[in-house]
């Protein structure tokens, strides 16, 4: 019994990271209709960058992560302006192929800059709490808290600010938003920088929690999309619920079945959801 709770706690921390990834994907998809597959690679880039800031310059983990998020936001601006904007009016499939090309490029750039070694970001948060016989690592609690804070910030940004209002307007009806004087290009840039910054934070947390290595990014992007499919497309609560379900089911699978097949099981969950509820758990029919 304790084992189940133990795995659930472990799964929640990973699930929080998946939620962050999915949140970045869901804002880009829901608002601009782009399946930004390179998101996972951007996240890995952020993880490596955080590692570099933390190790080379000796910055504390969260400061390093914050700096990396700023760089990530700039990378997001560049990606939108240089790669996605030229195909804005082309069929959606073109944007997706651009995303695949970007994935290869960013993976390649990661390899060139940071090398092919597996990297773990060292943090000072090594404590373990003991609650009713369940061991809870301090780092995992911090990861969950960080994710909560970031999600809250994004939710407030979208629901309370003027920029958030124009973002929602574009998501609802692009043409009408243009007619009302919303600067769609600006919204697009803002959305990409927010999304990339979120991705970077997820990469940094993954780096502290597990490890970052070449090729992890693609897996993360697929997990992110799996979360979207689970939770419902373009829905922020869906991303949260989907992320936690995926993380916990993965941890359970790793703990009780086989860790080698945990990814397979995560995808099976996704396929079952597709079969019975193609619009996602919290999606609109």
């Amino acid at each position: 019994m304790i084992e189940i709770f133990q795995q659930a706690i472990n799964g929640l921390a990973i699930g929080a990271v998946y939620t962050l990834i999915a949140l970045g994907l869901t804002v880009v998809f829901g608002i601009l209709g782009i399946a930004h597959f390179a998101h996972g690679s951007v996240a890995m880039f952020g993880g490596y960058l955080t590692f570099t800031f933390a190790e080379r310059f000796g910055l504390p983990f969260f400061v390093a992560m914050g700096l990396a998020m700023v760089v990530g936001a700039v990378v997001g601006l560049l990606i939108e302006r240089l790669a996605y904007r030229p195909v804005r009016d082309a069929p959606h499939i073109n944007a997706f192929i651009i995303a695949l090309g970007l994935t290869m490029m960013i993976e390649g750039i990661n390899l060139l800059i940071f090398g092919a070694d597996q990297v773990v970001i060292q943090t000072p948060y090594r404590g373990v709490f003991n609650v009713f016989g369940i061991a809870i690592a301090e780092l995992r609690v911090l990861v969950i808290l960080t994710a909560c804070v970031l999600i809250a910030v994004i939710a407030l940004l979208i629901s309370r600010t003027k920029t958030g209002k124009s973002i929602r307007a574009v998501a609802q009806n692009r043409q009408a938003a243009v007619l009302m004087g919303v600067n769609v290009s600006m919204v697009s840039l803002v959305v990409f920088s927010i999304s990339s910054a979120l991705g970077v934070s997820a990469g940094a947390l993954i780096g502290a929690l597990l490890a970052i290595a070449p090729g992890v990014g693609e897996g993360l992007a697929v997990k992110g999309f799996a979360v979207l499919i689970l939770g419902g497309l373009g829905s922020i609560p869906g991303a949260i619920v989907g992320g936690l379900i995926l993380g916990v089911s993965e941890a359970m699978a790793a703990g009780f079945i086989s860790s080698a097949y945990k990814d397979v099981i995560a995808f099976l969950v996704m396929i079952v959801v597709l079969l019975f509820r193609p619009e996602g758990l919290l999606g609109k029919r």
């Binding site: 195909v87 490029m105 993976e107 390649g108 397979v264 996704m270 597709l274 193609p278």
Partner: protein, 327 residues
């Protein structure tokens, strides 16, 4: 003259010329690359069927190739079946698997279909890598046999000899078969429905076409061709491990289709040769290979969204009309 006869003559001449290639190309390395490129033609034709005709990007092509390759290899190595038999069976087996996985994934559209197929590719890759009691895991399976020799009219076709020519002919004929199959699908009623789905799926649905059947058909044929390519690849290389069947290779198949010209019949052929030969010439920049590849893909999609073949075609027509105009 009847244009159909002209076209048939051209195709026959092309086939004869291609069959005679081994007596012209004497460098074994080039022969090797050409054989690989032809395997890629089969793979790319399959990819084009679902991506170019139907407009659904599937990212599972390399995974299906892996299923075909391992199916064929395991039957010949572990059970001692004839390679000829497994070459015929592996596309069928791969097609069967693709029916099972295609049905749920075709319930979603567009990007989400792509992501789901990508997940399949990752599942297939993980299984090939971790189920090592059967697949040999990362170390792989060596000594995959070549097809048995046979003789027709006193001509001996020995596939295990020093010359790769007989195997080249086998792969060439398979590539012709794949292209011919796609051509006959495209020109049939089914092909027109597939293109209609690409152009407007809602409309196709509304006029009473049960689109999911056609989509599933295209997906299954596409996977079957990938299975054939995998089987041909495994028995040619003689060594099999999961590495060539990862997501990267599926992306490569997409690149081949985009670069050549998606939705055309010659596009995948040009694209397949491009993705086989380009890396060989980009070898100097091996560490920059991924970046270069991605860059080509992005730039090609922005500036050349229709691919090389349609652009070359329209250039050719323009030059032709210019010459005609001068006369």
């Amino acid at each position: 003259m009847n244009p159909k006869i002209v076209r048939m003559t051209w195709i026959a001449a092309l086939l004869v010329g291609a069959l005679a290639l081994p007596s012209v190309v004497k460098v074994p390395y080039f022969m090797h690359l050409i054989i690989l490129a032809l395997v890629w033609v089969i793979l790319a034709q399959g990819q084009n069927l679902i991506q170019g005709f139907v407009g659904y990007v599937s990212i599972a092509q390399a995974g299906f190739m892996g299923i075909g390759a391992y199916f064929s290899t395991l039957l010949t190595v572990k059970l001692g079946w004839s390679v000829w038999m497994t070459l015929c069976l592996s596309p069928l087996f791969t097609a069967l698997v693709s029916v099972l996985v295609g049905y749920p994934s075709l319930r979603v559209k567009g990007h989400y279909f792509a992501i789901v197929t990508l997940a399949y590719n990752m599942v297939i890759f993980t299984i090939l890598l971790t189920f090592s009691s059967l697949t040999g895991g990362e170390a792989g399976i060596s000594n995959v046999p070549r097809p048995a020799e046979f003789s027709v009219f006193g001509w001996l076709f020995n596939f295990e000899g020093r010359s790769n020519a007989p195997y080249y002919w086998l792969v060439l004929l398979s590539a012709f078969f794949a292209t011919g199959l796609c051509a006959s699908i495209l020109h049939s009623r089914v092909g027109r429905v597939l293109v209609a789905i690409r152009q407007n799926e809602v409309l196709a649905d509304a006029v009473g076409v049960s689109t999911w059947r056609y989509k599933l058909f295209a997906f299954v044929v596409s996977a079957g061709l990938a299975g054939l390519a995998g089987s041909l690849y495994a028995h040619y290389i003689g060594f099999l491990n999961p590495e060539p069947f990862g997501v990267d290779q599926s992306l490569n198949a997409i690149l081949a289709v985009i670069l050549g010209g998606s939705g055309t019949l010659t596009g995948p052929v040009v694209g397949a040769f491009a993705v086989t030969f380009l890396p060989e010439y980009l070898r100097i920049a091996d560490s920059y290979r991924l970046v270069t590849y991605g860059f080509i893909l992005v730039v090609a999609t922005i500036f050349l969204p229709r691919g090389l073949v349609p652009v070359a075609q329209s250039l050719f027509l323009r030059v032709k009309s210019m010459i005609a105009g001068k006369k």
